[in-house]
Amino acid sequence: MGMTGVLRPGHAAIRVLDMKEATHFYGEVLGLIEVGRDSYGRVYYRAWDERDHHSIVLREADSAGIDFFGFKVDSVATLDRLEAETQAYGLKTSRVPAGDLLQTGERVRVEIVSGHTIELYAEKGKANSPQMVDNPPPWNSESERGIAPIRLDHALLYGPDIEKVQDYFVKVLGFYLTEQILMEDGKTQLAIWLACSNKAHDIAFVRHHEPNKLHHVSFLLDTWEKVLRAADIMSMNKISIDMGPTRHGVTRGTTIYAFDPSGNRFETFSGGYQTYPDWDPLTWTWDEVGAAVYYHDRALNPAFLEVVT
């Protein structure tokens, strides 16, 4: 098997200030498919080309931000093993019973040192409809409705002690470092990009004084053309755009950063390169930090480092 252990990002649980506004945005503008609501009032979505039951869970709360970010692992045995190894590594874990999230098996929760809650799970219901698996067409009406990303792709999280976060993800969860930005001293990492697959990143972290902050949850599009189309749809719907369309130096993705109606940043992007676990990390130095983040502007906007939820 090509890929074992931790497979991919599986879900992001996002807090929203007003569920009505949020469901309009995630369902109609972003164009995700609503797949369920639970007894807590949480609303579930998947992207049109995703094969698992859901990838986005919205919860109404009095603050914005992210509750947890989850990864799917290849088996229950792997889940048990990673739980034991996480505890042996010295991080606290807890179990969330099967069924707490709709159609999702038991989840192992890990509190990482940046203050975020990372989840691992092995089982989730499938979204396979016959028209998606038997003689499937290349696209369908759902792939054209709203921005319509292909999938939830990654998240960028802000918090302290990211070198310790990297150590845990690499040593225990089997991720590898794909890129980094170093600070003025040429040693301290300002930001890290980590992959568990053969993507340019599955999760990333930026060093930040406050723990448990969300910079963005990211959605994949097919092409640069679709990124432009996404920008058009955002402006038609008066969505608050932070940056773009432009290109990241890091990962080479073509991108837009924008905000959901509760101020949570999201990204719609395409491109990036493929990696393998023997990849040597790419490094950006402090004097090129602007180009690392926004390749054309070659300068950071203050919001990149400071506007988080």
């Binding site: 200030l17 914005a64 931000g65 302290p160 060093r207 004084h209 101020g263 203050p302 400071e306 506007v307």
Partner: protein, 110 residues
Amino acid sequence: MGKHTVHFVDTGESLACSDTDNLLRSMEKLGRKGIPVGCRNGGCGVCKVQVLGGSCERRVMSRAHVGIDEEAQGYALACRIIPTSDLSVKVIGKMGRAFASVHTNPSTGE
């Protein structure tokens, strides 16, 4: 559409703001930079202000940035308030802190 005058006590500036747009939006439309702009949607807190006088309509905004006590003292996120009279406003939200802290001490931000 009516206008209300918003007076910024820090700079002495006054702005004619629409009574249908939120305060941050009015400022952005006029090309002004008085209040820091972040998410524009009440989540990030960078546009925090204190309303010292006048009245406004308040929309839901993050409690992580404006607590209940603060709300009573007129604190608000500029992207979530719409003036209903002339206002007098003090800018609280600052940009530049995180960047400065990244420079000074990477691990603690102090």
